[in-house]
Symmetry: C2
Subunit: 254 residues, 2 copies
C-alpha cells in the first residue's frame, strides 16, 4: 500500500536523515553526525549550513540543534485541521472536569499522532507531547480509531507496522486485536489496561466523520490507582464518550 517513490530525491533523504538523527540526539556536532551517518564531514557541514540559513537548525557553540522553524510548520498544519480547532476547547474542558490528562490524537500513515494534550489539576506527567507518533494497537486512542477503519486497512496497518509488545499487557495477536476492536465498536469506548505503560490506564472514544470512519480520538489517562472500579468501567467512559459526541457534532456543522 505504502508505495515507495519511484524516483526518490536522495539529497533530500540525506537532509532528512540528518534532521532525524539530530532529533534523537538533541544536540550534535559535525564530526559526530558524519560518523553516525557514514557521510563526509563536508557533506554534513554543507547540509547543516543550508538548513541553518532557513532556520531549520540552530548552532550553539559548535553544536547543532533542531530550530523552532519546525514549530512554525507543525503549528500551522495543526491549526488548519478542523478537528484541532473544534476539539481543543472541549479537550481543555474535559481536563478541568476530570482533573486528569486528556489527549487528542489523529492517525496518519497507520500511526497514532498526538495533536494536543491538556493537563487537569491532578494530571500525571507523561512522556507524550504534541506530534508524538505511536503504534495504533497499543493505546486506547489508537484502538478507538482502528475500530472505525475498514478491516482491510487495519490488516494493512498490522502488516506494515507489526504489533510490538510495549508492556506485558499489549495485544500482540492479530485475531485478539480484531476481537477487541469488535468489543470497542459495541461499547463505543476503548480501554488501555497498562498496555503501553505500566501503571497507566486510559479510556478513549473515537471521533468519526459522517461516513462513520474515524478521523481522531480523545482519551483520558490516569494512574491505575485512580482509575478503577466504576470510575474506570462506567463513569469515565460515559464522560469521554459524550465529549467525543459533542466534538463530532461540531465537526459536521461547519
Amino acid at each position: 500500500m505504502e508505495q515507495e517513490p519511484k524516483y526518490p530525491v536522495r539529497t533530500t533523504e540525506t537532509t532528512l536523515a540528518i534532521l532525524d538523527t539530530l532529533k534523537e540526539a538533541n544536540e550534535m556536532g559535525v564530526t559526530e553526525l558524519s560518523n553516525q551517518l557514514n557521510l563526509g564531514k563536508s557533506t554534513v557541514h554543507n547540509h547543516l549550513s543550508t538548513l541553518r540559513k532557513h532556520d531549520f537548525v540552530v548552532k550553539e557553540d559548535e553544536q547543532y540543534r533542531l530550530g523552532l522553524r519546525f514549530l512554525e510548520l507543525g503549528g500551522h498544519s495543526r491549526n488548519q485541521m478542523k478537528l484541532y480547532e473544534v476539539a481543543e476547547p472541549e479537550v481543555r474542558a474535559l481536563a478541568e472536569e476530570t482533573e486528569e490528562m486528556v489527549n487528542l490524537a489523529t492517525h496518519e500513515h497507520g500511526k497514532c499522532v498526538y495533536l494536543y494534550r491538556a493537563k487537569g489539576a491532578q494530571a500525571v506527567e507523561l512522556d507524550t507531547y504534541a506530534g508524538l507518533r505511536t503504534g495504533l494497537h497499543s493505546t486506547a486512542l489508537g484502538k478507538a480509531m482502528l475500530a472505525h477503519l475498514p478491516e482491510s486497512r487495519v490488516d494493512d496497518i498490522i502488516e506494515t507496522n507489526g504489533l510490538s509488545a510495549e508492556t506485558q499487557h499489549t495485544i500482540t495477536d492479530r485475531d485478539e486485536l480484531h476481537e477487541e476492536l469488535e468489543t470497542i465498536r459495541e461499547r463505543g469506548v476503548a480501554f488501555d489496561r497498562e498496555e503501553r505503560l505500566n501503571g497507566l490506564r486510559c479510556v478513549a472514544a473515537p471521533i468519526t466523520d459522517t461516513d462513520g470512519r474515524s478521523i481522531g480520538a480523545i482519551s483520558v489517562a490516569a494512574p491505575t490507582g485512580r482509575l478503577k472500579g466504576d470510575r474506570f468501567s462506567t463513569d469515565m467512559p460515559d464522560t469521554v464518550h459524550s465529549t467525543a459526541n459533542v466534538i463530532e457534532l461540531s465537526m459536521t456543522h461547519m
Copy 2:
C-alpha cells in the same frame, strides 16, 4: 552577521521552497506548485513523493499538504527548551488569573518566535500560534527582548529585517525605537499600544539569563477596551513582571 552558506545544498533548498510554498497555500497540486516555483512538474513530483515517504507531506485527492511530522520535530525541540519547561505552568496560571490571552516567546535569528499561548476565560481570539514568527520591533514581546540585547545586536537586527509598519502606531524609526527600549529597561515592562494589530494592547516583561541577556518574554494581550487606565499602566505591568521574575528564578535554579 548572518553568514550565507559557502556551499549551499541546492536540492535541499528546493525541497524547503516546496515546503514553504505548501505552508502558505495550505493545499496544492503538483502542477500548481511547479508553476509557482518555476520547476519542472517531474521535479516537484519527485520531491513531494520523497517527502511523503517520510511523512513530511500528505496527499489527499491529488492535493498535497504539510504532514504532522513537523509537529513531531517541532514539539520535540520545544520540549527540550528549559524555558518552555519552566514557563509553561506559570503562563497557564497567569492566563487563569488575568482571564486574558497570555503568550510565551523567545527569539531566534532576530525574529520573535511564539512558543506557547494560554487562553484565559475572556481571552481574545488571535492569529497567533506556537511557532509563529514576527518582527521584534512591533510587539510588546519583541521590544521586551530587544531591550535586553546588546545595542550592536539590535542594530544588526534592524539592518537585516527593517522596521515594517504593521499599523499606524508601529515604531518605524531607528532612534525612536532605541529611546523606547531605554524606557523599557527603566520600567521593566514593555507596552504594545496597537502597534501590531488595531484594537489590541499588550503588556510584556522580558526573561533574562544570569548575564542579563534576554532569552524570552511573556505578555498579556487584550482588547484596548479592557486594558486601559490603571489596569494597563500599573496593575497588569506588576502582575506580568512578577510572573516573569518567578520564571527567571526557576530558570537559574535547575
